[in-house]
């Protein structure tokens, strides 16, 4: 089943803003997505969480947009908007009814050019408080909530900017000053550090004319400091283990590995391996641990692609009540070892590829997904046409390739194991059940 080709144009304004446009008139909608080449990997110790806090500040108004007005304008126009920050990126996106495209471009330009006009201590303090609550809601007040932060900390040395989580620490967030914000904006929020993608019911010529009108006068920053060399040895060198006592009813084993960087075809093969291992009911880990042996409540394994030295492969197994944690961990590791020793079957490989193909078809039918991918591939690889070649890369993965990358990555001396256990003194699920039946008998 062929996936439709994305046809796009790709050019830069004089100030370096890269503008990519793909027309699609099927639905009266258009997606705008702007990637700035800045993420939490640009943060240093003492200033973690900054890129994400800054993303929040970007919605607080600019020279011609009052606080609160950003969403009032976008939603009032029948649009949706958001932004995300992660290790390698900060992106801002809108989806608009197509007749409101110009507004979205105008508003992106206004904040790229003039955010500092509206920046105040009050809005910074307000969004700092919001971000701290985001941290609490997403991580601090959740069972197992610290897993990702711990995996990152163990997988990357303290000197590597992937060591700390994108959300940052409460102390560093508290320490962020207006001056920090100004300097961050002036350094990274420049047109020559950005890619603007517009996909949907639009006209290429009109989009470029608007891009020039609204963004054209914003000056470039010729002095964006390069990120240092983030390269790393491909493996950790030795297993790292940590036991975490948490308010959890069921133990859970998390694993993490250093994986090939995003863009390396070996990562494509590893993603197919994770699909075969944990991608749904027919997968090896689910069949063995959840269905057949009934030792796990659920399992997961997936890869996040990063460009700064290594990607992360991560997963977990939640232990069923009454089952020794060691048994679940051993079975999990056995399956990951097995896929690195024996070639996967032709059928398993074909099924994984068929699913990926359908997923691609589904993802690419949406204009917002297309816009995000074009901007991402331009930013990270200077190659937006990868959007049309990614599927072929997955389909070209061989059984040997799956085995070889699994053997190289999913190995004990490259893994972090976090074991989450109920807090000392807290009843585990099994004990609770037993005691309940005792008290019923006595009643």
């Amino acid at each position: 089943m062929p996936v439709p080709r994305v046809t796009f144009t790709d050019d830069r304004l004089a100030n370096g803003l890269r503008v990519i446009v793909a027309e699609d008139h099927l639905a009266p909608v258009v997606a705008v997505n702007i990637w700035y080449d800045v993420g939490s990997k640009h943060e240093v110790q003492g200033k973690t969480g900054f890129a994400h806090l800054f993303e929040h500040v970007m919605f607080q108004g600019s020279a011609h947009v009052a606080k609160g007005e950003h969403f009032a304008l976008i939603q009032g126009a029948g649009g949706t908007a958001n932004g995300t920050t992660w290790l390698d990126r900060t992106n801002y996106f809108e989806m608009m009814p197509s007749h409101q495209l110009e507004l979205a471009l105008w508003i992106e330009a206004d904040r790229m050019g003039t955010l500092l006009e509206a920046l105040s201590q009050e809005t910074l303090d307000n969004q700092r408080a919001v971000v701290k609550n985001e941290k609490r809601w997403s991580y601090d007040n959740r069972p197992y909530g610290t897993w990702n932060e711990k995996l990152q900390a163990h997988l990357f040395p303290p000197t590597h900017p992937y060591h700390h989580p994108t959300i940052g620490s409460m102390e560093d967030l508290d320490a962020a000053s207006l001056d920090d914000v100004r300097r961050f904006f002036q350094t990274y929020y420049a047109p020559n550090n950005a890619v603007l993608a517009v996909v949907g019911d639009c006209d290429d010529g009109q989009v470029r004319a608007w891009a020039d009108r609204y963004f054209g006068a914003i000056p470039a920053n010729p002095d964006i400091p390069p990120l240092g060399d983030l390269s790393l040895p491909p493996t950790l060198g030795a297993e790292v283990r940590e036991v975490v006592h948490d308010r959890v009813p069921l133990p859970r084993v998390y694993v993490g590995y250093r994986a090939p960087v995003f863009g390396d075809p070996d990562l494509d093969a590893l993603e197919i391996a994770t699909q075969i291992l944990a991608g749904g009911k027919g997968s090896r880990l689910h069949r063995r641990l959840v269905r057949d042996e009934r030792i796990a409540q659920d399992v997961a394994l997936f890869a996040y692609g990063f460009v700064g030295g290594a990607s992360i492969a991560a997963g977990w197994a939640t232990v069923r009540p009454g089952v020794p944690v060691e048994r679940v961990e051993a079975a999990f590791h056995e399956e990951l070892e097995r896929i690195g020793q024996e070639r996967v079957s032709d059928d398993e490989l074909a099924r994984a590829k068929a699913l990926i193909e359908t997923e691609e078809l589904g993802a690419l039918q949406r204009v917002d997904e297309r816009a995000d991918r074009l901007a991402m591939l331009a930013t990270l690889f200077d190659d937006p046409d990868l959007i049309n070649r990614m599927l072929a890369r997955y389909l070209a993965v061989t059984a040997d390739g799956v085995r070889d990358v699994s053997a190289a990555v999913l190995r004990p001396d490259n893994r972090v194991v976090l074991t989450y256990l109920p807090e000392e003194g807290e009843e585990s699920a099994t004990e609770g059940e037993e005691a309940a039946s005792e008290s019923e008998a006595a009643a």
Partner: protein, 467 residues
């Protein structure tokens, strides 16, 4: 380096909107009366098909709470032709994703697949829904997974708050008082016979609907469906769906705190029994709720997040089911902000009931709902899902075509009337999951109602047995 002169000051005006209407669907019937609703969406090669049974958790007998959801999940655990793994592998080979689930109002089974393979995918769907075997060992496993998931839910403050909230606002005996997936009291006793019986009660093909959406050009979907579904007979135990008895338990506002020692945030739920879907002032309620707690600049989010910084997000909504699901205002706030956040929320609920909204707010809500409408339906999945929703709620075929004009017609008076009729801050339950040792006193001092602290999560429902 930058200044206002590097950008254009004038805000652009919108262009002429491109006309959009929710796609029309064709209504057909198979020879056994099963309804087929077909919506052709040119240019969308990934077809979505959904078989809808208007029978959900709300139709369960009291002793088998959770059977509907579990039965839906068990369909794919084995059919006459396939074991569970064989079935999923057969679907994967087609690049199809086959799924079944149930909620309060309905059970749905569906598949997404490239159009070229719709025939074989519908074959698998038919096998799934017509010939499930509910293998005992797999049912037992799913039941245990549900019991374990309940444990996980109780440890997660967000989910704990939802469970405590519905338990508080509904009278005992109302199905909505517990999660759709059931609680241990009833789930522990479910076996394959209970699931088969529960599922069988919903099998009357003359009451079922198959919704198919995507690029159907050149396809005879009814021709594909008739041999697969057309000879499906009603189960002898088929029952008509019922409308639930819904009664609220709270007549005067009070506070219930589920104690979670050391919690850095409090999960707040403020509300009461809400509304069913089929009400005369539905569009006024939607507009009112959007400006109260739906938009980013809603009253609640503006106040609690953008002004005070108490939360990452505050919202309010009516969960409109076949019966009256809950109305709730929701936010997770840092612990110290609990009492002020409650006070601010109650103030907003009171204000929307007592004062007409400003024109600008009304227009903002209406403009959003009308403008965003086409964006919701870009792909077949949401189109098929929304049509399925009309079937489940017994709404007319043109309901979605009428949506935007109906929203446009809502004025300040209708919003006020809807708020007065349906929002009752004076008898709201305030349910909190947080550190009672820190928040109980300030909440009491705020005077929002009597405070009850529930420490059973910490102290356990189990008493030590004296030897």
């Amino acid at each position: 380096m930058s200044g206002p002169s590097v950008v254009v000051a004038d805000r652009p005006a919108p262009a002429i909107p491109r006309p959009y209407t929710f796609p029309a669907f064709a209504r057909e019937r198979l020879s056994n009366g099963l309804t087929c609703l077909l919506v052709d969406l040119p240019g969308r090669p990934l077809v979505s098909a959904s078989l809808v049974m208007r029978r959900g958790a709300v139709d369960e007998a009291a002793g088998v709470g959770g059977a509907t959801v579990l039965a839906a999940r068990a369909l794919s655990e084995g059919t006459e032709r396939f074991g569970a793994v064989e079935l999923v592998e057969a679907a994967e080979r087609l690049g199809a994703s086959l799924h079944a689930d149930a909620g309060w109002d309905a059970t749905t089974a569906g598949v997404e697949v490239p159009a070229a393979r719709l025939g074989p995918a519908l074959e698998l769907l038919a096998e799934l829904v017509r010939r499930p075997t509910f293998p005992a060992a797999e049912v037992e496993r799913l039941r245990d997974e549900r019991l374990n998931d309940i444990l996980q839910a109780r440890a997660d403050p967000r989910r704990r708050a939802e469970e405590a909230f519905v338990e508080t606002i509904y009278e005992p005996g109302v199905p909505y008082r517990r999660p759709a997936g059931g609680l241990p009291e009833t789930v522990a006793g479910l076996d394959r016979d209970a699931l088969a019986a529960s599922y069988g009660a919903g099998i009357d093909p003359s009451l079922l609907t198959l919704v198919v959406g995507g690029d159907l050009a050149g396809m005879d979907v009814v021709g594909l469906a008739e041999p697969l579904f057309g000879d499906w007979a009603a189960s002898p135990s088929a029952e008509a769906s019922t409308e639930p008895r819904v009664a609220g338990a709270v007549s005067e506002r009070f506070v219930r705190i589920i104690h979670r020692p050391g919690a850095v945030q409090t999960e707040i739920r403020i509300g009461h029994v809400g509304l069913p879907r089929r009400i005369d002032d539905f569009h006024a309620v939607v507009v009112m709720t959007t400006l109260l707690g739906g938009l980013f600049n809603s009253r609640l989010n503006s106040k609690l997040r953008e002004e005070k910084g108490y939360t990452y997000g505050a919202s309010a909504s009516f969960d409109m089911r076949r019966g009256a699901g809950p109305f709730a205002a929701r936010a997770a706030v840092n612990t110290e902000a609990t009492a002020p956040a409650i006070v601010d929320t109650l103030a907003e609920l009171t204000k929307v009931v007592e004062e007409p909204v400003a024109d600008a707010e009304l227009v903002a809500a209406r403009d959003f709902l009308v403008g965003v409408f086409p964006l919701r339906f870009e792909t077949p999945g949401p189109v098929v899902g929304s049509i399925a929703g009309l079937v489940v709620q017994g709404l007319p075929d043109d309901e979605l075509q009428r949506y935007r004009p109906a929203v446009e017609a809502v004025g300040v008076d209708q919003v006020l009337a809807a708020a007065r009729a349906h929002i009752h801050p004076e008898r709201a339950a305030i349910v909190l999951v947080g550190d009672a040792d820190v928040i109980a006193a300030p909440v009491e001092a705020a005077g929002v109602g009597p405070v009850v602290v529930d420490r059973s999560d910490v102290e356990g429902a189990v008493r030590t047995v004296e030897a």
